[in-house]
């Protein structure tokens, strides 16, 4: 088992590294750096009233502070000279320069190995600190909605798998298909319009999470204070994840009920409920472990949308705001964190799978 896990890590880490590197390089290689539009715009603008010269100096200072004046990678193509390109064909020859270790990628990667994700362009604070602040809200949201989804999916699939529940099954399954066709942001907005609107029903507060400062109370107390703000977002996430998980659980449970030992249990005279809960459910849960580890990406996508709609200061909204502000270190930092989380969740799923089912031995092969 340990050897299998080790090998698996060895496989995943390079893939992750390549992906994260690609995202990093893409974020830097494209034209337009952070602050360029605002600082070096021609004419008097909102950000500066100084002369063109002062503005250029300010821009250069910003580039130097954020290391953006350095070349991007170990090897780069020399920039095109405009005059030369229009006169002859020499621009077609690749002109490679070797930059040594003084390049953006090396600095970023070296910092990543020491556990630092760099500094935000916008606020000059360490990315890790910003992320840590934002993660507090997101983690509560994720954990609670995941737990609720699992419980609900279990209840629904157990109740509809029984032979007698034909009618209930039809209704619930069609309801789930209907639910599945609503994108998360639509569910969120509809709930917002119905349940947090002075014109309809105002049961929950709309915005304002993070208004009560977390530092003043203990963790649990602040959670209780924030709970009303979290109800609607949690419902949204649960509704978004429920169809997928229930479908998997239901299919798996139905498959298990065909097995021989279930027939034996029925022949013994056990009531239907006990057969399902005591005998079938445990085996049916096995394939669902993998599905659970796949839930993470969907949940991440969900939180991005949900946090934007409900104005929750979490990781998802941080992502959207830094995207709109082109704050690349924060974007890349979030990508790295989520990639690591996804890798870990897959590994945990593997371990759980092996623990739950002794037949699985990864050492063989």
């Amino acid at each position: 088992m340990l050897r299998y896990l080790f090998r698996r890590l060895l496989y995943t880490i390079p893939t992750l590294w390549v992906m994260v590197t690609l995202i990093f390089l893409l974020s830097r290689v494209l034209p337009g750096t952070f602050g360029q539009e605002q600082i070096s715009q021609a004419g008097e603008g909102f950000y500066s009233k100084g002369s063109q010269q002062q503005r250029n100096a300010a821009h250069e200072q910003l580039l130097a502070r954020t290391n953006q004046h350095l070349p991007l990678f170990y090897v780069t193509f020399a920039p095109l000279a405009t005059s030369q390109a229009t006169s002859n064909y020499s621009y077609l020859l690749p002109d490679l320069t070797w930059n040594g270790t003084k390049n953006q990628y090396h600095i970023w990667a070296a910092a990543l190995f020491t556990g630092s994700l760099g500094e935000s362009f916008a606020s000059s604070r360490p990315v890790l600190e910003i992320l840590w602040e934002a993660a507090g809200n997101t983690i509560w949201l994720l954990l609670i909605s995941m737990a609720l989804t699992i419980v609900l999916a279990l209840l629904i699939s157990v109740s509809i798998v029984q032979d007698r529940a034909v009618k209930r099954r039809r209704v619930l399954l069609s309801f789930l298909i209907l639910l599945d066709s609503f994108p998360v942001f639509l569910t969120g907005l509809l709930l917002l319009l119905l349940l947090a609107n002075p014109d309809a029903l105002q049961l929950f507060p709309v915005f304002g999470l993070g208004y009560h400062h977390a530092g003043e109370q203990s963790g649990f107390m602040s959670f209780i204070v924030n709970l009303p703000h979290l109800v609607l977002p949690i419902i949204c996430l649960v509704l978004a994840e429920l169809p997928y998980l229930t479908n998997h659980l239901y299919t798996s449970l139905k498959g298990t009920l065909q097995a021989d030992y279930i027939r034996t249990a029925r022949a013994k005279g056990l009531p239907q409920n006990q057969v399902i809960v005591k005998h079938a459910l445990r085996n049916a849960l096995l394939p669902v472990i993998t599905v659970l580890s796949d839930m993470l990406p969907a949940l991440v996508a969900g939180t991005v949308v949900i946090e934007t709609i409900f104005a929750i200061p979490g990781v998802g909204r941080l992502l959207v705001t830094s995207v709109l502000a082109r704050d690349f270190p924060v974007i890349v930092g979030i990508v790295v964190i989520i990639a690591i989380a996804k890798m870990l969740s897959h590994i945990v799923a593997d371990i759980l799978y092996a623990l739950a089912d002794p037949r699985i031995r990864h050492n063989q092969k």
Binding site: T15, I23, I177, F182, P183, P297, L319
Partner: protein, 357 residues
């Protein structure tokens, strides 16, 4: 192909929900195809600043109300459907094509069925890097420096020409040497699997958002990102189906008869994996519609001057009382996705049922 049409005809006769969904989709298709010729009182971007946030059903002109800039919701919803589908259909078609070709090749040839000479492999790598440099990097640089596009065409021509010379001129010479003429197995399958794993190592929306952030929103960019992230699903499916089909007796028979690889793939294998691919296509279009409007809602999808469902829905942020901005485009979106899902649901059931028999 024939089996698929028969399935559809059978479903049409037996399942009322399938018939309804198909009718709805056909109606939608006809509407959006004819939309530019329908005389509408407004264009989607026509501002009417005197009638901002007009409630629906009580105005003669703006039947479904107006948004924060006085744009007509009905017209915007219709054009949003048009833009969404005009983006989703071609994107999913290209993604399916790429996915099916990659998946079929990977599943059919596996890791040790396709042999290449070492020399060919070397030349292939050279050609790829030449194409990458002359057809992507140089045009991008020229474009970002604002140089005339004639130069980019020259560079693209040079790239194609050089790789042509390498493939047809240098390769025959190089493969004469004994080292380069040794045959090596080309690990097509693992290569494909690694690529798919690479792309799916991050949540799709995360890739979409972060890449869309690096460039100003444009239809071209959005389609390219969608294609790059959506082909993997179809490829995985096609590979799995191909692995199954390649074991079947009729492929063996075809090999014995002496059919070439190409004939086997196109005549025997591909028709057999068409149904699951069509199902994945229908499903993918629905998911693309949803994700496109999500991105447009967040302000990083389609450019703001293109009407889209997401753009209209985003108007709710400036006035929480304007429920019609969410209800009409959103209902339309959900209905369309629902119709697509009902279609693929029934198709999946009938193909699975056949596979079990």
């Amino acid at each position: 192909m024939k089996a698929l049409l028969q399935d559809i005809a059978h479903l049409w006769q037996t399942k009322w929900s399938f018939r309804l969904a198909l009718l709805y989709l056909a109606g939608l298709g006809i509407t959006i195809a004819l939309l530019p010729f329908i005389p509408l009182p407004f264009t989607p971007d026509q501002l009417d600043l005197e009638n901002v946030f007009l409630a629906p059903f009580n105005n003669k002109y703006h039947v479904l109300g107006t948004d924060q800039l006085g744009r007509d919701v009905l017209v915007n919803t219709l054009y949003g459907a048009r833009n969404g589908l005009l983006l989703a259909l071609p994107v999913m078609a290209i993604a399916s094509l790429v996915g099916v070709s990659v998946g079929v090749l990977a599943g059919y040839f596996g890791n040790n069925k396709q042999y290449l000479k070492r020399g060919s492999l070397l030349v292939l790598l050279c050609c790829l890097s030449l194409l990458l440099y002359y057809n992507i990097i140089v045009p991008l640089q020229l474009f970002s420096n604002g140089l005339p596009s004639k130069l980019s065409y020259t560079s693209m021509l040079v790239g194609v020409g050089l790789s042509g010379i390498a493939w047809f001129g240098i390769k025959p010479v190089i493969t004469r040497f004994s080292f380069c003429s040794r045959q090596v197995a080309f690990p097509l399958d693992s290569l494909t699997l690694r690529t798919i794993e690479l792309i799916s190592s991050l949540p799709r929306l995360l890739i979409l958002i972060s890449v869309a952030a690096f460039m100003p929103p444009s239809v071209m960019l959005l389609s390219v990102i969608f294609i790059c992230t959506y082909w993997t699903g179809t490829a995985r499916l096609a590979r799995a189906e191909m692995l199954r089909i390649a074991q079947l007796p009729f492929i063996e028979a075809a090999t014995t008869v002496g059919m070439t690889h190409r004939q086997i793939i196109f005549k025997e294998a591909v028709p057999n994996l068409l149904s699951p691919v069509v199902v994945a296509f229908v499903f993918g279009v629905g998911s693309l519609l949803a994700i496109e409007s999500t991105l447009s809602f967040l302000g990083i999808g389609l450019p703001a001057d293109l009407p889209s469902w997401g753009r209209t829905i985003a108007g709710i942020r400036s006035n929480l009382g304007a429920w019609w901005l969410v209800a009409f485009p959103g209902g339309f979106l959900a209905l369309t996705v629902l119709a697509l899902q009902v279609c693929s649901y029934h198709l999946v059931h009938i193909t699975q049922g056949r596979a079990r028999q």
